[in-house]
Amino acid sequence: MEETRKWKWGKYRWWVLGLLILTWVSITFIATPIQPHIQVAPERILLEPLITLPIIGDFYLVNTLPTLILVDIIIILMALAVKKALQGGNLIPKGITSMVEMLVEVLYNMTETSAGKYTKKIFPWFASIFILVIVANFTKILPGFETIGVLHHYEHGYESQYLAGNWYNIIPVEAHRGAGYILTPFLRGVSTDLNFTLALALIAVFMTQVVGVQTQGLGYFTKFLNVKTIFSKPGLGFIDFLVGFLELISELAKVLSFTFRLFGVMFSGTVLVALMGSMLPIFAPAGIFLFELFMGAIQAFVFGMLTMVFMVQATQGHGEQADH
């Protein structure tokens, strides 16, 4: 019979207490949180467009672009670190290599149980989308994210307070109409931009069709345009044709659902953290943030998993369903 140890306080309670006191000090003396200005479209950092293309229009420097560059740099540095560690020659990984190896192994096994012999084609898409989205969602934990930025004039804004040099602070005092400021952060989570999620969704669905054509040849498109059974089975053959048409609509629905699932979860998380930070700034945002990180990881996994499942379905034709 094992004896149970008496539960004792750990040593991290001093860290938690110290951080709570630091939070209280910074809220009372340095910067009190304000009600956030929520905007679905990412805010513009510079008010003039960067480049203007003739037909498409203006391209502004938006909130989420520096974040995207940061996420790309983090992923590239991770890949370079793993490569350097693998060049040493010892097969036992430690540190970041072991983490990446575990991740790749778990994803590869998952792909292998579903895909069978097409694993090598499908696995890169699953892993790339997963790693990109999970790093993009975990980058939101860096300090200064969505809090440090440019103060813009705004009608219903707040007053600002001068700190030092070129740094101002925004204080929760409503300003007169037309003379207030709001904050436009420098960095905003990448997944809260509808363009990012739409691009990923379009890539995923388009590559699903490509994988289908690669494995089944041009006969893959009879999934959508099913005219084989119109004349052989008179009544039901026409229903097959309508089912093919429904499949086409379902592909478009997949694009929409991919986009709005990721965008909705991450954007509502951002809004929740900002609102909770303005209402109960001392301890509550930490709990909400943990929940948001968990949801971000789950959404990355779901995005990748759904892409993988759709690709596996694209490699299996109609007739093979009768084999089960």
Binding site: I38, Q39, V40, A41, S257, F260, R261, F263, G264, V265, F267, S268, V271, I298, Q299, F301, V302, M305
Partner: protein
Amino acid sequence: MDGELIQAGKFIGAGLSMIGAAGAGVGIGLLVQGALNGMARNPDAYGNLLTTMILGIAFAEAIAIYCLVVSFMMLFVL
């Protein structure tokens, strides 16, 4: 007066559109019930069932997120 009416309409619409999240709640509850039943019958399958349950919860929650997105659109965009 017109601007206030539109603002009131926005708030009412945003509130009404979140009724759809009830379906997601029921769906997630049914999912966890099924997963717990399976885990109780067969404790060895815990890892497999957990992964599949988390995946299913993400799908069911996505419907509630669509309602939330419509609600945000009504409040902040349109």
